[in-house]
Amino acid sequence: MRSIRIGAGSGFSGDRIEPAVELAERGGLDYLVFECLAERTIALAQQARLKDPEAGYDPWLEDRISAVLPACLARGIRIVTNMGAANPAAAARRIAAIARQQGGRMPRIAHVEGDDVLDAVRGTDLPLLERPGTAAQIGNAMISANAYLGVEAIVAALSAGAEIVVTGRVADPALFLAPMVHEFGWSMQDWHRLGQGTVLGHLLECTGQLTGGYFADPGVKDVADLARLGFPFADVTEDGSAVLGKVEGSGGEISPRTCTEQLLYEVHDPAAYFQPDVVADFSGVRFRVVGPDRVAVEGGTGRARPETLKVTIGYRDGFIGEGQISYCGTGAVARARLATEIVQERLRLIGVPVSELRCDIIGLDSLLRGPLPQGRDEPLDVRARIAGRVETLAEARRIGREVEAIWLNGPAGGGGATWQAREVIAAASVLLPRTQVTTRFAFVES
C-alpha cells in the first residue's frame, strides 16, 4: 500500500528550527508542516497588520523558511504552514522573496484566505462559548475574529500544484490531514479515515511533545539527549494506518507513554474531538511498538462534521501590571509576604483601581495547587510576586513601580526586583454556521 511521510517542523511560533532542518535534510519527508499559531497570536498579528499592510505574519517566518527551503526544494518536500497568521498573502510574498534571494528554483506558493470573519461576527448576537455575553457586547475592543478552517482550500492548492501552502487560522490537525486527503483522495465524507488522520495530526502538531519533550522527569521518566530532541514524522498509508518515528540519531523518545500523554493533550471528551472536517473519536486509539522509536497508531475514527465552525475572537481586555522581588535566608517567606502586603496597601493609598490582584510567593505557592504537605521545611529562597488587573497602561506601570520601590522601602534584603506592564489581548469563542465562511486559495504572483 502506498504511504507518505509527513514531518512536524514546529509546534509553536517560538519552536526550535534545527530539528526541522534535520527532518528536511535527513527525514526522507514528502511533506513538512509548520504549526505556529497560538490562540491569540492572530490578534497580535492583526494589530501589526493595521500598522503595516505587509506585516501580520509569523515573526520567525524569515528564519524558519530560509533554514529549510534549500533542502525542501532539493528533495521535493512540500510545505504546509499557518505562518500566514493575519496576512497569508504577505507571508507568501515574503517566502517568494526568500526563494529569490537564495537564487534557487522558484517554488509555486499558494496562500489560503477566508478565515478572517471579523465582518461576519462583529456586532452580532452570537453567544460567547466561555462566558455569558455576545460578540456584540465586546464592541470596539474586538481586534480579530478568525474561523478555524478545515482542509478544503489547502487540498485544492496542493491539487493545483502548490509546493508551499501558507494559511492563517486553520485547525492545527488539518495542516497534517490536508496532505493525506490530497495524496490518497479520501472522500470528505469518509469520517473513519478523516478521524484517524485527525488523530495523527493531533499527535504531530506539538512536535517535541510527542518525542519526549514536556515529558522528562529525572529518575521516573528519563529521556535521552533533550538538547537534540528530534521532531516527529508519520508514515501514513492509504487506509489511514500509520507509524510514528523520528530521525535516527536525534534525541528524545517515541513510545506508547509519550504518545498517550500527547493523545490527550488539550483534549476534553476523547470520543468527540470537534474539528471543522470531522468529529474525531480518539477513544479506541492504541499504540504498538514496531521498532526502536517507531510506534504504530491504530483505532482512530470519527463521525460527521459539525455544521458550525469555531471562531476565536481577539479583543483588548485592559492591562496587567506585575512585579517581583526575591528574599533568602531564615524568615524569607515572612519578608516576602510583608512585601506583598505593603504593595497592596500602597496601591490603596495612592488610589490605583485594581479590579483583581494576585500575590504569590514563588518557591512556596505560586504553582503548587491542592493540599499543602504537612511539616515541610520553609524554603530559604523565595520570590514575592504581585500581579494586578487595571484599565490603563499608566495604572499597570504604577503597580510595577510600587513593587520596584519595595527595594528601598520594604523588608530587609530584597533583591532582583523586576516589573512589567502589558496590554491584555484576550480570546473568546463563538460558533459560526459554516455557510457563512468561504475559503479559497491563490498563487502568489512571482
Binding site: L263, L264, D269, D317, D360, R369, G370
Partner: protein, 109 residues
Amino acid sequence: MKLRDLAHARAGDKGDISNISVIAHDIADFDWIRQHVTEAAVAAHFAALLTGLVTRYELPQLGALNFVMQGALGGGVTRSLALDAHGKSLSSSLLEMELPPPPQRDGSG
C-alpha cells in the same frame, strides 16, 4: 503513597478549561487508580482553584484517565494573573495526591 508513584500526567489548556491526563506507569495499576482518582477526589484536591465541574473520561486500553476541569485557569491563559497562566504545572500538582498503595499483586514482589 502519592499518585506520582503509580502514574504520570500531562496538563493542557483551552480557554478557562484545564485537562489533565493521568496515565498508569504499569497498566496493572489502572483499576486501582480508577477506583481512587475519581471526579470527586480531583475536585477536592483542586477545591481552592476550581469554579466549575470536573468530568472524567476513561481510556482503559491505554491505562489512561482524562480529567476535564471547568473554570480552572483564572479566566484562561489570555487574561489570567497566574505565573503559570496555562496551568501546565497542574499535572505535577495532581500527582501529589495521596492514595493508598495498591494490594500486592502475584509475582510483583
